[in-house]
Symmetry: C2
Subunit: 346 residues, 2 copies
């Protein structure tokens, strides 16, 4: 592999050390430094670590002109088995098509950072940019990409970007507030929430929006009405079975996301509760299926396609040396009212 | 680009011509032939065409040992905006992960063959294999990939593979038969069908299965009950509005696929018809959402993940020089009975 490797042995005219200088400092040959720079795997791990250390110490920065990026754009998912992955892919694909790039798709298989194999692949294929979805790089990985001049952007609906890492997100807190206010305005007072995993900042932000909506309406938050899910259908179903069999069951549920809302639909169906007559449900995301379910789901629209487009565009621009106006872009949510919400039963 | 280009100027020991011989025949230099082989775009189109012609005429075949494929696997979709794209990606990703490959994702943007830009990219990045979904290569593109030793497989739920092209499909005819027989066994006699585009062989196969089921039950096919859709939600809705307002409306509909079934759900809801009490609906695909809609959808399961796994595995194996037992693999469908089908109203 090692597409169009540069050996880059000339003068370090712009303050970045030459490969020879790094080689001397690390006690290896210049071709070995070149191999490490290009993500070749035929270098002993210890040697590699020593070279990486010197690259970092000496502040090596690949000069733009010496290495043309490939016509690839890397896209890394935390996990692929979510209905919204397609929305994100579509957004990135829109930019890739316009820029004549192909997308390299990876899944970090549930880990929050991709593995070393992925990093090696990226260094070797030298993409025009990297977009990470709900996934992040550790400090060492960031350093590896930065020193090779490979820009990366986190598309981060979770809302928890590392310092200084360019990221695109959405205002989850405001979405939670809007969803809950909508239910309050319809007259609901017993409003439950099924959140996402408490380890994700987006879950916490939506929950905080829900709490603030209740508190500003002077309704105390009943902890029995707040459940933690994992954003999958089954979690909504399980929480729904529990909530809807409470003696004083809620008349409305903010389901945290659309898939959990569908789980609530199923629980309500099984218990003979009609939506929206007996129970109002609000989702979050506005996946295409939100329009198709029965009744069509009232939900908070998270503009996933636009977010992904913005993240991909940002990565491509960074690769061309353009500095973005802001390293954090939040795209606004909006409430989409359909037929799953109504006034509470009299 | 041009990852690890080989110039391959040695003897043509295994009957394949050398680059020099091709260069002579095409009246160009050997480096120009090398550029064309490696998908470089800095060659005039006319020159390129001349070289491609000689590669074909002289039967050039890249020797396996001379060019290591990259750690990439190309995946091309006809269009990405379908809920089942994620299922396919997951299947390919399962194989990619096991083989330590990354997926390069492309969309042929509704065209049935990918464009020249894509072909150039593939020749340059030299993937371990190519999987095409509902998309095919034209004869020239096939020749270009074959001469460079890049294997390709069509994942072809449409059921219309080109001669000799390795492909993985499913038995659409049998699925259509099973869906319709299920409705007949419940006692339905007025059974409508909303098919897919008539240009796709999978649509025709499902429709033929439907017809055969009716004919073997000695029920004449009523052409007013057969509609053509495009496999999207809206088509199911439109056909549903028409079918369900007929004076002698059907008591059951085989919807062609799951998304069209959801369109039928919506039409039925609007017209105040209950599923399954007033109307039975059967889908095709068994997307995750089929379980989540209300009522959960009876559908024909098309094992998309397994099909994609099989296609990706086949491409990887071909790249290693293993010849498959069969160039066409069909994976069986199965009927999944849920709650959207019941006996017709008395």
């Amino acid at each position: 592999m090692g597409s169009g490797e540069v050996t880059d042995l000339g003068e370090g005219s712009d303050n970045t050390p030459t490969l020879s200088e790094i080689a001397r400092a690390a006690g290896v040959s210049a071709p070995t430094v070149s191999k490490v720079l290009n993500g070749r795997t035929d270098v002993a791990p210890k040697t590699r670590a020593r070279v990486e250390e010197q690259l970092r110490e000496l502040g090596y920065q690949r000069r733009r002109s010496t290495a043309q990026p490939s016509r690839l754009l890397d896209l890394v998912f935390h996990e692929l088995d979510s209905a919204w992955a397609v929305e994100v892919i579509r957004g990135v694909e829109n930019v890739a098509r316009a820029e004549d790039l192909s997308i390299v798709l990876s899944e970090s298989a549930g880990r929050l950072t991709p593995g070393q194999t992925w990093v090696d692949g990226v260094l070797a294929r030298r993409p025009a940019g990297v977009v990470l979805v709900l996934s992040d790089l550790d400090a060492g990985q960031r350093n590896q990409l930065t020193s090779r001049g490979i820009p990366f952007v986190v598309m981060d609906p979770a809302g928890d970007p590392a310092d200084g890492v360019p990221s695109v997100g959405t205002n989850n807190w405001h979405g939670g507030l809007a969803a809950t206010r909508h239910l309050l305005e319809l007259g609901h007072r017993r409003i439950a929430m099924v959140g996402g995993p408490s380890g994700m900042m987006c879950s916490r932000a939506r929950l905080d929006g829900y709490r603030t909506a209740l508190e500003t309406a002077r309704i105390p938050v009943d902890p029995r009405l707040v459940r933690e899910g994992d954003f999958h259908h089954e979690a909504g179903y399980t929480a729904g079975r529990e909530l809807l069999t409470l003696p004083d069951r809620p008349t409305a549920v903010f389901a945290g996301n659309d898939l959990q809302a569908l789980g609530l639909y199923e629980a309500a169906r099984e218990l003979g509760l009609r939506i929206p007559e007996d129970l109002s449900v609000v989702g979050f995301d506005d996946l295409p299926l939100a329009r198709w379910v029965g009744p069509p789901l009232t939900t908070v629209r998270q503009p996933l396609v636009e977010m992904a487009e913005t993240a991909a565009r940002l990565a491509v621009d960074l690769g061309r040396g353009r500095q973005p106006a802001a390293t954090r872009v939040d795209i606004a949510t909006s409430l989409v009212v359909r037929s799953s919400t109504a006034a509470p039963p009299a």
